[in-house]
Every structure is written in structure tokens, then in C-alpha cells.
């Protein structure tokens, strides 16, 4: 655990009893990059996993302007807690139906993602994992199931700094990406693949039967969380695709093709209109763009690291 320097204390610095008490009373916030998320979690079973996954995150307290107030609670008092449904609300509104209590942790994570995606249109939000090396950002835009999160978690544990496994937060007019380090959500077979790839990493509980299959969350590395204020310009855009048994292929592609793929992968391209067009154009113009096909995680990590280390940014 990181010793806390100046600034707000870390989530992990609280005793588990105090964390649990504050979470249940809605008296705690967590800073996730530019977002200050107030948490009210009346589902005791996920208090400990949450504290472990967010241990290095700055903890917020007291009245302040929060980006959103997230609330998770059981819907009915009857029945055993694990069998009950949970309801996620953000600022008093439930954005979706109640979900099984056993999935509470995933429901909260998705709920916070949703609240961010619905609100913060000052950023162009690309559906991409983002990592940094040598002061430059790598974007991994991909649809679900293409191995983006797995590759992201692997890189984050091989000397790349994690920005996000989900949100490429682009600040229009700057060409810069902002970190939002959060737990990385792994699905199905990739959980075991990652576990053997990085046995030292902390994973949260394995949650079966969600609408995305089996899910487990990887705690973001402490160094990544500690540097959440540090933005980076885009230098590489890689469209990854995991295919069983194929040899590694890393093929440079044209900027116009990359542009189209980045644009169609954004959450709020239509909302930003011409500002989004300019922002994506800037990223495509400033980056080398590739298509990556891989089956072996180690090989993919090595190829991307070599790419980053060989570039001389001329």
C-alpha cells in the first residue's frame, strides 16, 4: 500500500470498519481522474472488495461538487441478501432495471461508467483502452469481445501507465488524453489468462452469470492511480483483435481508415459534432495507426512495447 503524501488520504488508509460505515452512510467519495464520485453503498458484501480495488484512489469527504452521486442498495428486505436484487441510482434516478444482488460490484462499476458517459460531453469519450509510455498515449479502440481489456490489463502490469480500460477521454482542442484509472473489467476466459500472466495483480471477486458473462475486476496499479492528473498526447492507435491460435500480426494502416474506426467507436461523437471531428482528426494525424491480431498475450505486449520504445517522435 502506498504511503499517502500530501493531498487527500487514500481509500486504503481507512480501517475496513470505518470504510464500511462511511460507504453505508453515503459519507465517502472517490476521485477517479477528473471525476469525483460520491458513493452510497448499502450492500455490505461488496464493501471489502471495493476498498481493495480502490485502495490507492484518493478519498473525498465532506460537501463538494461531485460529478455524480452513485447509490446502490437492495430493493426488498425479504429473502437472503445474496438472492435479493440491487437497485443502482444516480442522483436519485434509476437508469436501468434492478439487477441480481450477486452482481452488485459489477452493477456499481457499470453504473458509474454509464453516468460518466451520459454527462461529461466536455470530453470526447472514445470507447477505447488507453495507456501511456514515454509520455505518449496508446489508444486501443475496440468493440467488446476483441480482447481490448485483457491487453490493457496486461500492458498496465508491464510498465505501461493505465489511463482507462474503457474511456479514452479526449480533451477537444488539445490532442491530449486524460487518465481515469479504474478497476479493469475482465470477462470469461481472459480472467484466467490474465491471472497466469500477472500472478502478482490483485483481482476482485469472480462474478458469474452477468449479462456480459463471468466478470472480474483488476485493481489498477498504484503508480497509475498516483499519476491520474498527468495527461498525455496520443501517439499510437492500435485496433486489437484476439483470435485463437493465430501468429502475431501488427500491420500499419492508413489514417483515414483509422479515423473512421475511432469516430465510430466514440460514445458521444454526435453530441460534439464538429468538435468531435476535429478532435479525432487530430488524434489520427498525430498517431501511427495499426491493426493488431494476436493470440498470445506476452507476444502482443512485447510487440507494442517495442513499437513504443523504437519510435523517435520526429
Amino acid at each position: 500500500m502506498m504511503a499517502s503524501e500530501a493531498g487527500p488520504p487514500r481509500v486504503g488508509a481507512l480501517s475496513s470498519a470505518e470504510w464500511s460505515e462511511r460507504l453505508a452512510a453515503g459519507r465517502v467519495g472517490v476521485r477517479m481522474g477528473p471525476f469525483d464520485v460520491r458513493l452510497h453503498v448499502a450492500v455490505p458484501s461488496i464493501h471489502a472488495p471495493l476498498q481493495a480495488l480502490y485502495a490507492d484512489h484518493p478519498m473525498l469527504d465532506g460537501p463538494r461538487v461531485y460529478s455524480c452521486h452513485a447509490d446502490l442498495r437492495h430493493t426488498r428486505r425479504l429473502g437472503r441478501p445474496a438472492r435479493r436484487n440491487v437497485r443502482f441510482t444516480v442522483d436519485g434516478i434509476a437508469p436501468h432495471e434492478d439487477m441480481p444482488g450477486a452482481q452488485a460490484l459489477a452493477v456499481l462499476e457499470w453504473g458509474v461508467n454509464l453516468a460518466i458517459a451520459m454527462r461529461f460531453h466536455g470530453f470526447l469519450m472514445l470507447h477505447a483502452a488507453v495507456l501511456e509510455r514515454r509520455g505518449r498515449a496508446l489508444l486501443l479502440p475496440a468493440a467488446p469481445g476483441f480482447g481490448k481489456s485483457t491487453l490493457c490489463a496486461a500492458l498496465a502490469h508491464r510498465n505501461w501507465r493505465l489511463f482507462s480500460d474503457e474511456f479514452g477521454l479526449l480533451v477537444p482542442g488539445t490532442g491530449s488524453l486524460l487518465p481515469v484509472p479504474r478497476p479493469i473489467s475482465l470477462k470469461n476466459q481472459s480472467i484466467e489468462v490474465f491471472r497466469s500472466f500477472a500472478p502478482q495483480a490483485h483481482l476482485g471477486p469472480v462474478i458469474p452469470n452477468t449479462r456480459k458473462g463471468t466478470v472480474a475486476h483488476v485493481k489498477p496499479p498504484a503508480e497509475s492511480v498516483a499519476q491520474s492528473e498527468l495527461a498525455a498526447p496520443a501517439a499510437w492507435v492500435v485496433f486489437p483483435r484476439w483470435v485463437a491460435g493465430v501468429p502475431l500480426g501488427l500491420e500499419e494502416i492508413g489514417r483515414s481508415e483509422a479515423f473512421m474506426q475511432i469516430a465510430t467507436n466514440a460514445f458521444n461523437y454526435e453530441v460534439l459534432g464538429s468538435a468531435a471531428y476535429e478532435a479525432v482528426r487530430e488524434v489520427a494525424a498525430a498517431s501511427r495507426c495499426f491493426r493488431l491480431v494476436y493470440s498470445d498475450l506476452q507476444e502482443a505486449v512485447e510487440a507494442l512495447t517495442a513499437l513504443a520504445d523504437e519510435d523517435d517522435f520526429q
Partner: protein, 375 residues
């Protein structure tokens, strides 16, 4: 019906919201906790985009904490994107109807504010494109739109009948390539409603917007429509935003439209909309301090409801108008909204028809569980 806790929380909500509406730049002087609550309430009342616009215009944006700035910028972007979509949709509708140039096509509500640039259009978040056409042309306009790719929403045969026989609009339509919803109206109240405005009077005074192929209602009628929508035809969650529209329009037309106030009350009477106009004036004045000449308020007393009704409305309307405290669900607010919901239905159809309609809706709900809704 209300505990003292609940009343205190409602009062806090009211103070917060009214302060932000009257003096948007003043939010820069709030404590962090007050600002947080204000932003949450304004978001809930669909007024965050408007607040963002005024905060930016007043030049105090940079004085706010980063999280507040991000929230405001995000809300303004959404409002601007929706306005952009609506303009494009209107453009496409005019194009689709280019061979029907003699049919007046009147943009109403959000679209009218947008096209005429009334002050309430700034940062206003709106959902649908509302259009008014003469009833005699309704079928032609509908078939033209269908020929150009618009489709009616999929509704049950009962609902389709309900729209066409009883209401003042067709089932909502949208273009197959876009998501914007168009509501095509032939009047401003249901056919079955207690009050019977004559649509031909509205059409006769409509004002063409040169170069657009569109028209808007005359200023008096635009305000009367907003009042009618709020007090005789609407559901409550958007109600505060609608009262804010009314207040902005009264202030704007009162200052810039010659003869507005002289014409206002006689027009309300002529259109059989005096009762909703009475409420509109009363609550815009009482809650949002709208500038209304004393003689207009005096004239409006002729449409005053019986004392017990007014007593009840004075208690229900302020309760129902303001957003719920996001952390403290108020049963009094829900109760007030339910009563006003019942009232609106009472005004919309005669009792036997209402009974038939509600029993059908109740039956549908029994056999088909409802979609989850907000907590």
C-alpha cells in the same frame, strides 16, 4: 400529509432552484455543498443546460470548481446537440412537404423558441419536434411524411384509435434514419377536453418565419399554448421547465412585443383558455416573479376557480413543480403530482370516457408488467 422534515427539505429545494433561476451568476458564491445540490436539482428539472448558458454568458464559469464546470459544459453540449438535431429535422420536414407549400406548418414549443430565438431557447433541453397543421391537411401531411421515410410509432390499435379519435395529435412519428420524434398536432388540446380552443383562430394569427417555410404562433398564442400545456395537458416531471418558459416568454414579449399585454387576456378568453391562463399567470408571478401588469392580473380574476379548488391548487402546484430532493424522496411531492395527474385527466375527457380509458390502461398494466421507472 407532510412531516416537518419533508417540508424543510422541500423549502431548501425551492430556495436553491429559485436562486439559480433568478441569479444564475450567483451560483459562483454558493458553498460547495449548496452548489452540488443546486446542480443536481437543476439537472433533475431539465434546467442544467439553461443554467450553463447563463453562467457562461455572465462570465463566472471559470470561478467554479472543475467538477461543476464539467457538469455545466456537458449539459450545454447536450442541449446544443438536441437543438441542432431539431433544426435539421425541421429542415427535412419542410423539404418533404415542399409540394404542399400552401399548407401552413407551425413549429410549436421548443422548436418555436429555437426558430424565433426567444430567451428561453438558450441552453433549453428539448425532446420532440411539435408541429401544428390545419386538421383538414393532417392526412395529406402524414402521408407525405410517410412517403419520405417517417414512420408512426408502433402503438396498439387501441392507442392508435385513441390518438386519432380523441386527441389533438397523431401517434408520434420519426424518420427511419433518425431518432427525433415528431408530434403532428391539429390543435393544442384534446378533442375531448373541457376547454375548446378554436384552432382556426390560432392558424389565422400565426406568423411566417421568412425563408424557412415555417410559421410560429403569435406571441399571445405561444404563451397561452405553454400555459395550456402545463395546466391542462401535461404531466408533471417537466413542469418547472414549462413554468420557466412561461416566465421567460412573458418577460420577453411584455418588453419587446407592442400591444402584447393589451391583447393577452382578451385572447385567452377568445380561445377558451382563460382558466389555464389564470393559473399560468398566477404561478409564474407567485413562484418566479414574472412581470405581469396589475390590470392583466385583475382581468384574469374572472377565470378564477371556486375557492376550495384554488386553495388546493395553491398547495399542490408549488409542491409538484419543484424537483424532488435527490437523496430524500418526498411522498408529499409524489402525492401532489398524482392528484394533479388525475386533475389533468379529468379536464382531458368527460367522465365516462375517462373511466373507459383508465380501465383499459389498468387492464394493460395488469397483463403487461410496466417498464422499470425512476426511483
Amino acid at each position: 400529509m407532510t412531516s416537518s422534515n419533508e417540508t424543510a427539505s422541500h423549502e431548501a429545494v425551492r430556495r436553491c432552484v429559485i436562486a439559480a433561476l433568478r441569479d444564475p451568476a450567483g451560483i459562483a458564491r454558493l458553498t460547495a455543498g449548496e452548489l452540488d445540490l443546486t446542480l443536481r436539482l437543476m439537472r433533475r428539472a431539465q434546467l442544467l443546460g439553461r443554467l450553463a448558458w447563463h453562467v457562461r454568458a455572465a462570465g463566472v464559469h471559470e470561478q467554479l470548481p472543475r467538477t461543476a464546470r464539467d457538469a455545466l459544459v456537458g449539459a450545454l453540449r447536450i442541449a446544443e446537440a438536441k437543438a441542432h438535431e431539431a433544426r435539421w429535422e425541421l429542415d427535412r420536414v419542410v423539404w418533404a412537404l415542399r409540394d404542399e407549400a400552401q399548407v401552413p406548418l407551425i413549429a410549436m414549443k421548443g422548436c418555436a423558441y429555437l426558430m424565433t430565438g426567444t430567451p428561453n431557447a438558450s441552453g433549453r433541453l428539448f425532446a420532440d419536434v411539435d408541429l401544428l397543421v390545419p386538421e383538414a391537411d393532417l392526412a395529406r401531411v402524414e402521408s407525405r411524411l410517410v412517403a419520405h421515410g417517417w414512420r408512426g410509432a408502433e402503438v396498439t390499435p387501441y392507442d392508435d384509435n385513441y390518438y386519432r379519435l380523441w386527441t389533438h395529435e397523431l401517434p408520434p412519428m420519426s424518420h427511419v434514419e433518425r431518432e427525433v420524434e415528431i408530434d403532428l398536432h391539429h390543435n393544442v388540446l384534446m378533442r375531448t377536453a373541457r376547454f375548446k380552443p378554436d384552432a382556426s383562430l390560432l392558424l389565422a394569427n400565426a406568423r411566417a418565419l421568412s425563408g424557412t417555410g415555417l410559421a410560429v404562433l403569435a406571441p399571445t398564442d405561444m404563451v397561452l399554448h405553454a400555459m395550456t400545456h402545463l395546466f391542462a395537458g401535461s404531466e408533471m416531471p417537466d413542469a418547472l421547465r414549462e413554468l420557466v418558459d412561461i416566465q421567460d416568454l412573458l418577460r420577453h414579449f411584455g418588453a419587446h412585443e407592442a400591444g402584447f399585454w393589451e391583447r393577452f387576456w382578451p385572447r385567452a378568453v377568445q380561445l377558451d383558455l382563460a382558466r389555464p391562463a389564470f393559473y399560468g399567470l398566477r404561478y409564474a408571478k407567485q413562484l418566479l416573479d414574472a412581470p405581469i401588469p396589475a390590470e392583466v392580473l385583475r382581468a384574469s380574476q374572472s377565470a378564477r376557480p371556486p375557492a376550495p379548488v384554488l386553495w388546493l391548487m395553491d398547495r399542490l402546484v408549488p409542491r409538484a413543480l419543484f424537483p424532488q430532493h435527490p437523496d430524500r424522496h418526498s411522498h408529499a411531492t409524489s402525492f401532489a403530482r398524482s392528484l394533479l395527474f388525475v386533475r389533468v385527466h379529468w379536464l382531458r375527457m368527460p367522465p365516462p370516457m375517462l373511466a373507459r380509458h383508465l380501465s383499459y390502461k389498468f387492464w394493460r398494466r395488469l397483463i403487461q408488467p410496466r417498464e422499470p421507472s425512476s426511483a
